[in-house]
């Protein structure tokens, strides 16, 4: 990245944040709700990007940590306190803990083998959510989750949007800092040449596990926001119905860039919810076509397209 582009970054990010913050003043309630859903999903895509793009570990089971965070936040809101910060902290902890258990097994593998393992583990977590009636409510899901509260006020509509936006910006900042830190550079090194990193003396397993747990905790945070917005969590939220769109968002946006997956998440939510419902509920058809198109026509995703244009024709 050139020096000029580097200097432009914070200004662009600030502009985007201001535009997002001003959105409820200009848009109707329906659009604000959609935007809230996009932000929640973008945070999930961002957490997955930390794993797929930066560490080079493609996960097809990321819905599990998102869903665990959502269930944990919902359960705490129903049975203990609907306080926003508390439910989110619980969601982060739950996502991170489950990711630590799953990751200690999954990060032993690489590449497509890793994809396959995370897929299997994610489905096992979904089955668990369906059979553990006393906590998760079984296939009916966890319903009647009270609105999150912050400083005594219930967070709904525009207030909820700003709350989600604030958490999203914080999450984005954390991922950006991690990606730019020496830790992030080590993860990229592992992605590009694991044997060399090992030869240099890095404990690759620990770094990959740390990335997996961090990513799971962030997905849990997104799940906590999801529970606060949707007020209903079902087993489908842990499974492929979440994991596939999340991976698609990262693939569309371009692995490794941070803003790409966020745009990808927006595209996936808009396409799935609007195009899918106008085609009579064929959401999965649309997602499948998108995968095929992106794989053939858009290798590297939107971020790669932007990069190529900046660099000019090769």
């Amino acid at each position: 990245m050139s020096l000029a582009a580097r200097a432009r970054w914070p200004a662009l990010a600030l502009l985007a944040a201001l535009a997002l913050a001003a959105a409820p003043l200009l848009l109707g309630p329906f659009a604000v709700t959609t935007l809230t859903r996009i932000l929640v999903f973008a945070l999930l895509a961002l957490s997955l990007d930390l794993l797929v793009g930066i560490t080079g570990l493609p996960s097809l089971g990321h819905g599990a940590y998102f869903g665990v965070g959502a269930y944990a936040a919902g359960w705490v809101a129903i049975h203990a306190t609907p306080s926003g910060p508390v439910t989110l902290a619980v969601a982060i902890a739950a996502g991170g803990l489950v990711a630590a258990a799953a990751g200690s097994v999954a990060v032993r593998a690489r590449g497509v083998f890793f994809l396959m393992l995370t897929l299997a583990i994610g489905e096992i977590v979904e089955q668990l959510a369906e059979s553990w009636h006393s906590v998760t409510g079984g296939s009916n899901g966890l319903y009647g989750i009270p609105a999150a509260r912050l400083g005594g006020a219930a967070l709904i509509d525009d207030a909820l949007y700003w709350y989600v936006l604030a958490v999203f910006i914080a999450g984005f900042a954390v991922v950006a800092c991690v990606a730019a830190s020496p830790f992030g550079h080590t993860l990229r090194g592992i992605r590009d040449n694991e044997p060399r990193m090992r030869a240099l003396g890095y404990r690759v397993y620990h770094f990959k596990l740390a990335a997996f747990v961090g990513s799971g905790a962030l997905a849990g945070l997104a799940g906590g926001l999801f529970a606060a917005q949707q007020r209903l969590v079902t087993p489908a939220d842990l499974g492929l119905a979440t994991s596939i769109p999340a991976l698609l968002a990262v693939t569309i946006g371009g692995e490794g860039s941070l803003w790409g997956p966020c745009l990808g998440a927006a595209a996936v939510v808009l396409i799935r919810d609007y195009l899918g419902s106008s085609l009579g509920g064929h959401g999965s058809l649309v997602l499948g076509l998108l995968f095929v198109v992106v794989v053939f026509a858009l290798p590297g995703g939107l971020a790669r397209v932007g990069l190529a244009r900046r660099r000019g024709p090769a």
């Binding site: 097994v105 497509v112 994809l115 299997a120 668990l128 059979s131 995968f291």
Partner: protein
């Protein structure tokens, strides 16, 4: 007979039947993945297609000609679909293996949507063909004949696959490709052709397993994902590209799915994960896997 065996004999036999069905399903997945590093996420949809074919061709109460016709048509469709998938992923051969897996995932989503558009969201159940739809007394317990015959068919197919892979020249090329693909193409074997053949045969077995499994599982939306997961776990436990591994893995998972659920009910999912974790920690390349098989 000990009391424990007496209580759980039915679960044990069910596990054996489902284990052999899983083997028929998983062996193609394992060979293609082991040979070419192509993870075919459309494998579950092939199984489900077989199930729907059985229901639509043979009906809810199939006759023998109907059932055999369903087997033949499903096998043909599976082989064609496998060949098509092989061609499609070949176009991405220079790109990452992840892109190829994502392509098969896209195809799986499209196919699953087409199936649910064609057959609706209802659960379609299918009876076993006549003569196999009754039950026999086994140590004083009634047991469905169809499941016993499934054990027999599965054992025969397992032996056939084993013979093809271990004793024929095609099998020798397959084993060599699993071990060292570059060397195989260096000595002048067209590995794309080998891949297409194995992809086609593996997909044929998957859709055949769908027909054979229809009297047990029926056909319904979502079945594709659940059998895909079981097949993946089988492949991980058994090791990539190993026929023996796929058989042992399938029989183990069959028992976990039936005996495990009978003994532990809700904890069976934990046992599935536990088995996966245990194998990966003790033998990272699966029980019968070779470390060269998991380069990806």
């Amino acid at each position: 007979m000990p009391a424990w065996l007496d209580t759980h004999l039915v679960s044990l036999l069910n596990g054996l039947a489902i284990g052999f069905l899983l083997f028929i399903l998983a062996v193609g997945l394992s060979l293609v993945f082991g040979m070419m590093d192509v993870l075919n996420l459309a494998h579950g949809v092939l199984f489900l297609t077989g199930g729907y074919m059985c229901w639509s061709i043979a009906g809810e109460r199939p006759t023998w000609p109907g059932f055999l016709a369903a087997l033949a048509v499903a096998g043909g469709v599976g082989a064609l679909a496998g060949g098509g998938l092989s061609l499609a992923t070949e176009r991405l051969a220079r790109r990452s293996h992840l892109d190829q897996a994502l392509l098969t995932l896209g195809v799986a989503l499209i196919a699953a949507d087409a199936l649910s558009a064609a057959f609706g969201d209802d659960v379609h159940s299918v009876n076993p063909p006549p003569g196999l739809d009754g039950s026999v007394l086994l140590f004083g317990k009634a047991y469905p004949v169809y499941r016993l015959s499934l054990i027999a068919i599965g054992a025969v197919l397992a032996a056939a696959v084993h013979l093809v892979v271990e004793r024929t020249s095609l099998g020798a090329v397959v084993r060599a490709t699993v071990a060292d693909r570059q060397m195989v193409s260096a000595v002048g074997v067209d590995d794309r052709k080998v891949k297409a053949i194995v992809f086609g045969l593996g997909s044929l077995l998957a859709s055949t397993a769908g027909v054979l499994g229809a009297p047990i599982y029926g056909a319904r939306p979502g079945l594709d994902a659940s059998v895909l997961i079981l097949a993946l776990v089988v492949v991980v436990i058994g090791g990539l590209g190993s026929v023996r591994g796929a058989l042992v893995g399938a029989l183990v998972i069959g028992q976990i799915e039936t005996l495990g659920r009978a003994l532990l009910s809700n904890l069976a999912s934990f046992v599935l994960f536990g088995a996966l974790a245990l194998v990966l920690v003790v033998r990272p390349h699966g029980l019968f896997g070779d470390s060269t098989g998991t380069r990806s």
